[in-house]
Symmetry: C2
Subunit: 320 residues, 2 copies
């Protein structure tokens, strides 16, 4: 849940006057995204999303994010696009923050994803990867494998308060992940955060992929690892191999995987679990005890990591 | 800011199926209202507000609130109305909570109200009062003058930590307010919370009055006192008599005040300041120090109370 910044109504009307979108009818802060303030702005031409970029987003990355939306939408990915002012601008300023007006995508994210959702997510992820191939701007993955050690070590004093022996255990996992991390796999623009709340459906039909603010250049199959963690575990943390199989089938129907990508899936999925485990640990240790927002339990991702550590091979993901 | 409850997408689609409103296109939690969870639901027929009533609202009061919206809208007040299902229901259940779907009102609330806004608010408040005259259900004011003593006394241990001598000062003000509180003024249904964030405008034109969840039966002119506090002080807490004059002119253009109502305005406005001072004190003392939500400063309302205490008479509100 977000909405950190209030917008003055006069300032909003002036801001919206730069677009060719008619009269502003309403503006509601919405509980979507955790890094930025988002508003649903309705004009006589329909609804739009207004995003104010808060401190956690680096302003230098905004041309990458906004340009990527335009590029992917032009190459068939169902995703929002930045709206241009009459002068052609997309990145602007409102309430002393960088701001962009983005098109509104109909659809709802699935609270209880089923196998059909997983199939469509696989297709959309592969489409995202292939559509991004010619995108010219690059962005390094600030939360990739080379960043994990520093995040873990920053918690050395506190991690064991969450679970006895956790720091030592995670250090051993990380040592092994760093040693075995693949360096010869196809790379390109990945979404890097394709959780259910970032994928909209109308009935069973995927209507949109949103929230590109972790997108970056990294290993394509690592993005599959993120999705296996995000979509294929049940609420009791049991792994649903049918969902994984459908997700991978959906992916390969658009972009067939090379054999070395398939063989690397367990270590990539384990690394993906490590990445979310570490940021959840960080949030857990740095959120005040009485805070209104409850941080997500990091131990969930330890269990997912250990699942991938123990799989026999990629066949555990339902592959033939 | 609210949104306490998550809604399952399948449950929402089933819920919306009881109305004749087409396909659900989206559902976004919105930062509006502080007592309930509110969602902007878009269907192929347009936008609607979905409200889930959280614990702070008494379910027995819901027929009053929903019936009042219907009654006032039918009598010309620009306000939202509960949408009926195909079976004619308005009060339903979703996510284990009482729930209602409400029409969407275009407009934005004024962050910096001007004299023209104040004029229109006065008109709308008077229209609210006259339109409510024949409404059959009654609701006692749970936050009226008879409730203030208990709220103040509950804070006896802590109030002086906010400001030295505050408990004694407030007790003296309350003693006097109770003694001088009028009992012979016209009463009826009042809004009781007509702050700027509950009044929508399109350009300078008032497009709607929302949030009826404090509405109750009480003295009409007390509602004017609430508005004088909410609309006529500048950010530096100076009183803008021109705004008060325009608000009262607007009110009287629809419902002329009796002389005894005019004479009672200072004590009623002082009581209105006491009511918001006390609930802010309560929230201030009962919100955890590290909480995400910052409670509003109660001292603002002490200063407003003291302004009304020191006025010479109703002429200080710009009346001729």
């Amino acid at each position: 849940m977000a909405v950190y910044t209030e917008i003055d109504d006069d300032a909003l009307i002036a801001f919206m006057g730069a677009y060719d979108l008619g009269e502003v009818l309403s503006c509601k802060g919405i509980a979507e995204g955790i890094e930025n303030s988002n508003f649903l702005v309705t004009t006589t031409q329909g609804p739009f999303i207004l995003t104010l970029y808060e401190k956690r987003v680096n302003i230098e990355d905004l041309p990458f994010f906004l340009g990527l939306m335009d590029h992917l939408a032009a190459h068939g990915v169902p995703c929002p696009v930045p709206i241009r002012t009459k002068a052609g601008e997309t990145l602007r300023e409102l309430s002393d923050r960088p701001a962009a007006l983005i098109s509104f995508l109909p659809g709802m994210w699935p609270k209880r994803p089923n196998v059909q959702h997983c199939r469509h997510v696989g297709e959309a992820l592969a489409l995202f990867h292939t559509a991004g191939e010619n995108f010219q701007i690059k962005r390094e993955n600030a939360l990739g494998v080379s960043a994990w050690r520093a995040t873990l070590d920053a918690g050395v004093q506190d991690v064991d308060n969450i679970k006895a022996g956790l720091f030592k255990k995670l250090t051993a996992h990380l040592d092994r992940l760093e040693r075995s991390w693949p360096s010869d796999l196809p790379t390109g623009v990945i979404h890097a955060d394709l959780f259910p709340d970032n994928v909209f459906f109308r009935q069973e039909h995927l209507s949109g992929v949103i929230d590109f603010y972790f997108a970056c250049n990294d290993i394509y199959a690592y993005d599959i690892g993120i999705c296996l963690n995000a979509w294929c575990f049940e609420p009791d943390l049991s792994f649903n191999a049918t969902k994984a199989r459908r997700l991978l089938q959906g992916y390969q129907s658009v972009r067939p995987l090379e054999d070395k990508e398939i063989q690397a899936l367990p270590v990539l999925a384990e690394g993906a679990a490590m990445r979310f485990l570490l940021t959840r640990l960080y949030d857990w240790l740095n959120t005040p005890k009485d805070a209104f927002v409850t941080p997500k339990d990091p131990i969930e991702y330890l269990k997912k990591l250990e699942f991938h550590y123990h799989v026999k091979g990629p066949e555990s993901y339902g592959l033939d």
